[in-house]
Amino acid sequence: MVGPIYIIAIALGLAFAMGLFGKALKGITGALLMLGLAAMTFISGQWLWAFLTDSVTTTQIFTAGFKPPYSINLQMGMEEAILTFIINVAGLLGATYMYQTFSKKGEQLKMIFLVFIMSMNVTVMTRDMFNLFVFLEIESIALAGLVLMSNTGKAFQAGMKYLIATGIISGLLLLGIIFAYSFTGTLNIDDMIGAHLGTIKASSVAVFLILVAFILELKPFPANGWGLDVYTAAHPGIGALVSATVASAGVYVLYKVMPIAGQEWYYYVSLIGALTFVGSNLMGTRQNTPNRLLGYSSIGQVGLLMIILGLQDYLGDKTAFIAFGILISHYAAKAGLFWISGILKANDIKDWAALRKNPFLLFLFGTFLFALIGFPPFPSFFAKWELIMTLSTQGQLVWIAVILVGSFIEGIYLFRWLGYALKLDHSELPSLNITWNKMIPIWVMGMSLYVLGVYVTPMVEFGRYINYIPLLFILVMFALDFLPVYIKNTLSIGGVVWYMIDLWPRIEDDLMRQIFAVIFLGGAVITLAAGYSKKGTRKGFYPMALLMFAGLVGIIEASSMIDFFFSWELMTAGSYFLIIRGKRSMPHAYSYILFSIAGAYAILMGFGLAYGSNLDAGLTALGNISFLPTLAYSLLAVGFMTKTASLGLHIWLPGAHGEAESDVSPMVSAILLKAGVFGLMLLFLFIGTDNPNATKLLYVLGWVGALTTLVGNMSAAFQEDAKRLLAYSSIAQLGYVLFGLAIMTHMGWMASFTYTINHFMFKSILFLVIGGIVVKLGTHNMFEMGGMIKKMPFSFIAVLISIIVIGGIPPLSGFAGKWLFYNAIIEKGWYFQGAIIFFAGIIAFLYLYKLIHSVFLGQLKDNHRNMTEISWWILGPVYVLIIGIMIFSAFPQYVLQPIGEMLNPYFNTEIVSWEGTKAFTKLGYWDGTTIMIVVGTAFVLLLGWLISLSRKAQKVKQFNIVYAAERPFRPETTHVSYNIYAGYKKALGFLVAPGITNFWNTVSDMVLDIAGWLRRIYSGSIQNYTLHVIVFIVVFYLITIGGL
């Protein structure tokens, strides 16, 4: 194998040779540069390969023929191999990316670049303290040179700040090194580690200086203004390398020298890391310049890595996996993002909307952002998972909270950015001019994230159970994205059906999972079928829809917590992309994803506590949480409730569902919300009926559920937007489900199941039909509709049946839910919550009537006179569901009886017993079939009676009656169904004052204000940045050694 020393030799030799032959070889210096970088990559690559195949062990490379400490030695181990490899790869790709720039600007730049990459290799490999210092200096000088490449005033300023700051830092490092030498008599890092400098009072100052210097090299908050400026002003190609490689090398160097200080100091590294992670991300929330934003994010990620390094005692042998998982994701993502930024040349993240002109770039952009946040299947996901799990086995809850809060704040700006790119208008922006050499590096980074993600999956406990087959299918759908809708739709439905057939035997004995499988996959088929009504290619829709469904199915199938969480995140990602497809969806999808991430983190922490209690990642671990069980249950419940949009966590839903595309709304409403229900059911089953740790929690959740129904229904009643009305209705319906589950009795669960099944069916119907109508009429406002019953009779019947179900009116299946609730409430004794639930149930009539009246009844509007029925591709699936409702209403026992039997073992409370078609409880009885027969018979008889009495009725035209309160123009001024419940609003409207929305707005304003206020420290003055560095040093000193 080629020794790593040749990395240095090749790089320097080539650099010197370029100076010698530069003029003569002008044409091929570019090729030489690439060749040199390729050779360096090859050398580290072959070492990496050897380590991965276990054919070598950690090797020391001695120089000058003497053993350390007398001479300088390099070390090549697994970690060094990985780092040098990624550094050289980034160098190679970076040079490819900047090929034109380099050839324009002359030989010197190429030499500088080579030395730059080489110096980072040495900082990683060297085991000599002073040598480390020398090559760090080379690195910063080379970087300062590369910054000059931009040749702008800003770049000069940034470089100057950088030079002064690093000059001070390295001066102090030098002081530290020389004193460390004077105490230990060696410069070798390993010998210094052996000397335990950090524990001796006198030498601890030296340790302090070394440590603080290496920490400062990583640009800790707030002493990092100079670093940010470099990110902002440097050529994006250089920014990519600073973020990807300099940061990686710097983190590794810190990791290398930390043992010199000893474990007493680790805590402080974590502390600084936490400050940096949270602080930097916080300020990122106010940033609109892409490169600077990336800078904030980079520094934040490095902060996270510092936390991990500082916590390595807790993380034990998982440290490497976690750190590398985060590091590599950060590395690939940041490099890719900077490169994309270089292509776009935008000064505002809003201009990234231009990305849509190149779908590949958009895809890669999304990939990088999701990798940064830590979504599956990227390595950072697994790393974060292991991080949280391991920390919780050590009881480090505060650290978990800090890490998750920081990650969440990062999500705030990353998803705002993604939203801009996906939705903002880009017609004014120039089209992109992309050469292949700029595209290839970005592709390589993007693809490597996927490959690495899959590669590391089995390294995590239970990771091997993660099923990548659906994801492969989705990849194929991506590849086929150019095909027309009807082909892709057929393929998608085929895939879903095939998966259903494949899945069924695996869940044969598990009714609960079967029910949800039918809701998820059956729902998928039905809602996808409605997609036949769309024309064109519908770019990007199918992969994302399938991603969501894959996630949903994964949740059902999950046997371990990681499996579950993996699928949960996939589902979140898929649904985010679905939701944001709507025309005005950007802000709503944004709040959706933020709530989802926060919820996911709550779940993650809950899982962590479960894992910490059992050291078992199986899902069953949830059943036995001994470590802070109440907290764990609460976190999990809150996490799932972000998906069910319970009160307080619901504000994302109306907009997200209301503005989504017509067939996406039913997907995200009727189907997606059930994921939260499934999660809650799993959780509550694991909690068990008489768990003393959850009694209070369940009681609170009961109230939350009840109030959710009240607020949801009342808000729906005051809506003018048809789809938002339905969205609020979903909130309320899920409130019922939550309430029933929180009751934790047989009867309550039966009610919840009934509601779940009903909501799936009627909300699919309503969203499909109303969505179709909204598209057809071109307005969401109900007061602009009317009289559609004449134009769309089949839609009317579908909606009529649905609202009978929602209202709980016998004989349809909604009544079953109400009846079960009455029984459950009396049995449980939650009378007042129950009263609220029923009150809310009656309020439902307000919005139901508003919906059907304003859309279908009343007066036909002038501009709708030529409307026809909505597409049969929509009505077809709708009528399938209506048949389902009818069957469920007439023969509820076929569904509810097995559910009851399934629930029996879990609850020792009163049960619903069945006698043929009749259901009994201790309190009452109900016979769905008989009611259907009686009502049906009586109805037919009465209708017959009326018909027999009627003469030949004469049809009246619309204009035969007065228009006392409706005008076709500016209808909202006089339209009877505009603000139809004005009086009611006057009386009870205060109940739905947007208090919760205001609350969240205030919170977000506060966060942004804090960020805006904090970032004023970055005044742009060189002096201030120097001050920050010195303040950082002095304060750190006073805290650590000064004992402050």
Binding site: G153, F156, S1021, T1026
Partner: protein, 117 residues
Amino acid sequence: MEYIIISIGFALVLLGLYGIMYMRNLMRIIIAFTLFNTGINIVMVSIGYIRNASAPILDAIPAAGTTPNIVDPVPQALVLTAIVIGLGVTALMLTYVVKLHQDKKSLDINNFKDLKW
């Protein structure tokens, strides 16, 4: 003696830091920076000082097991490297100052606040 030298070194370090923080003219900042560097170099050399020892240049190969009475050569070697590095950094800073001056015709740092927040 060595205490005085090291004190001078430290004093230069502090003086340099003060200058870097206080000065507004870029050239002066660079001068302060070289003071800072020089101070560190002096400290480094004095660390290697051994009382009553001579320079680390030998007249003959010492006999096995005996140690010639010389000062520590290591800090001297290090200082050599440090000086060169300091030179490189200073030269680079000067280049930057040239570029900055070309850009804004000014050396006052308050004129270079284009990048912030």
